[in-house]
């Protein structure tokens, strides 16, 4: 990995952790958005690595205390989120213009992968504590709904705006960031 990318990874991970540690309503977070965005701009593996690193550090520093046995599942879930950012970028191809359909697409993808993240982490909580998985999923219904809805709205409202901002900052074409990573 190029030192420029190491620096980028460090900055993004710090940003994610910083946002994670700010007091906020339970399950309303922007780490998913940043990981997905990084995966989208700099490649699937880079996004996955950022997601995993963020959740690893968050596991120790979280306001809710040490994550414990749930940490590997959080790492897996957030790595998947970052990875899917890269996959989505690939599925769009080289010359796509930002439209309402894309905003909807990214919202729906956020809803789906947030749900997958919650299922993974709920399983990670249920299995070690010998709780039936279905019961664990149902017990967390309202948390899941808050998480899915907040991420759906956040992705739909901010994702392509952030893509445009980062593109301007880097002075490159919107669809060219994956090159070289």
């Amino acid at each position: 990995m190029h030192c420029k990318h190491v620096a980028l990874l460090t900055v993004m991970a710090s940003l994610c952790i910083g946002i994670q540690l700010i007091p906020r309503p339970p399950n309303v977070e922007s780490t998913s958005l940043i990981c997905f965005l990084v995966g989208f701009l700099f490649g699937a593996s880079f996004g996955a690595f950022l997601g995993a690193l963020t959740m690893f550090i968050n596991g120790f520093l979280s306001l809710w205390g040490f994550a414990g046995t749930i940490m590997p599942f959080q790492i897996l879930g957030m790595a998947l989120m970052g990875f899917m950012g890269g996959v989505y970028r690939k599925s769009l191809g080289g010359s796509v213009s930002i439209s309402k359909i894309l905003n909807l697409e990214v919202s729906f993808l956020a809803a789906f992968f947030t749900l997958i993240y919650d299922i993974i982490t709920n399983i990670g909580w249920a299995v070690p504590s010998n709780t039936p998985v279905i019961a664990a999923l149902i017990a967390g219904t309202w948390f899941t709904i808050v998480h899915v809805v907040s991420n759906t709205v956040l992705f739909g409202a901010a994702f392509f705006g952030l893509v445009r901002i980062v593109a301007n900052l880097l002075g490159e074409d919107t669809w060219s960031y994956q090159k070289g990573v």
Partner: protein
């Protein structure tokens, strides 16, 4: 506006998410309903048990009232029968130097010819010592409050003529009470000390 295959797949995923969330909510309410139903049954059982216990207690209470009425009647009859053998006196216990409380035992029924000591023993728990040299008893404690230091239990009688309390002239078991007499025990530092 034509949707690509990718968009359709993603929208299907979104639709799937909404279905899953709906099933979560349904499952959540089903679990809550089951929990409430279980609690409802539990409360119903508790209520039935409570009603049974209450009914049983009520019956016991009624039986006790009947017994009480019967005993009261017996005692009233006995009182009428032995009315000429008893008298009523008022006893005051003044814990002045201990906690300054005053307790009255009015209309205490005592046998005719009863002395101050006997009358007080009817309403309190007393400790006393008989002194053969004086042929009288000295009270050491009343209701667990013992003579200590300069504080002693002293007895008085109410003088109807002067309307004042008078120190007992003799030992408590040497003074015979008359009907309607008022006596007082006071935990105090005696005036002669």
């Amino acid at each position: 506006m034509e949707l690509s295959k990718r968009s359709l797949v993603i929208f299907c995923l979104g639709w799937l998410v909404s279905l899953v969330l709906l099933s979560y909510v349904a499952g959540y309410y089903y679990m809550e309903f089951q929990k409430e139903a279980h609690l409802g049954r539990e409360y119903e059982d508790m209520y039935n048990e409570l009603v049974q216990n209450y009914t049983s207690l009520l019956n016991d209470h009624l039986t006790l009232i009947q017994q009480y009425e019967s005993e009261k009647q017996n005692l009233t009859e006995l009182l009428g029968k032995y009315g000429s053998c008893i008298m009523r006196v008022n006893v005051c216990i003044d814990y002045k130097e201990w906690n300054a409380t005053v307790v009255w035992y009015n209309d205490t029924i005592v046998p005719l010819g009863c002395d101050v000591l006997q009358a007080t023993k009817i309403v309190t728990i007393m400790n006393y010592t008989f002194w053969p040299a004086y042929q009288a008893s000295f009270v050491d404690a009343i209701n667990g409050v013992w003579n200590r230091g300069a504080c002693f239990w002293m007895w008085y009688r109410w003088d109807n003529k002067t309307k004042t309390w008078k120190y007992g002239e003799a030992g408590a078991d040497r003074y015979k009470l008359t009907n309607g007499e008022i006596i007082r025990w006071r935990y105090e530092i005696p005036s002669y000390l």
